[in-house]
Symmetry: C2
Amino acid sequence: MAVSSDVLRGHTETIILRILSAKDSYGYEITKEIIEAGEGLIDVKDATIYTAFRRMETDGLITTYWGDGTFGARRKYYSITKAGSKLYNDRLVEWKQISRLLNNLIIGPIVN
Amino acid sequence: MAVSSDVLRGHTETIILRILSAKDSYGYEITKEIIEAGEGLIDVKDATIYTAFRRMETDGLITTYWGDGTFGARRKYYSITKAGSKLYNDRLVEWKQISRLLNNLIIGPIVN
DNA sequence: TTATCTATATAATCTGTTTATATATTATAA
DNA sequence: TTATAATATATAAACAGATTATATAGATAA
């Protein structure tokens, strides 16, 4: 059974930014990539990704262009911007800190 | 600067359950404990804790009683129930798995 | 006596996720 | 050849947990 969507909530943008850091991608592919990496515990809805795209484009974190495939369902590709890369780096540092703190708060600090 | 509240969102209940697993406590104390453990990165609002208490009491995860202090501001104590303990144990297992997956998704899996 | 700390409470608002729905092309199985 | 599944994007409405703002009140320190 998948975890509550609230657990992913603060990280959706960061995860999208990480994927786009490696290469341009599109909604359907990103959704599948997250679900696959989630090993059955993570279930992101496509609507979540597409609404995140809108926000992130408005915020200048990503830009978009249509794929030039002459056949097949049309794909809308996304690229990470400089602002997006900068935010991703900040979030990366933040995650390393917050995951340690959450570990303390959820598991409890090591007591001797 | 504190992290987005969305990062904590899925864990507020779990953290409260962890604190109440050790001993009965009350809103003000729990709030301070989380903020202190958060090392300046976590800023939980008291309203968040009190609204979580309502939910959790309704859900049978905690029970409440008034402190018997004869002076000082009144304190409302909370105890974890059996259902609360069970949920906490489930969330603990879940966190160990999800933190690893989030690590992969945010930092990126180790590539050789 | 004024300010700060301790302590609880809730209505209204905000915001990211889900549900539901719509549209359209391609590939595959019956 | 026809139905179905997979691929692919999009958005309005509903949902739910967190924040903001506000209210109340006793204790303590300046």
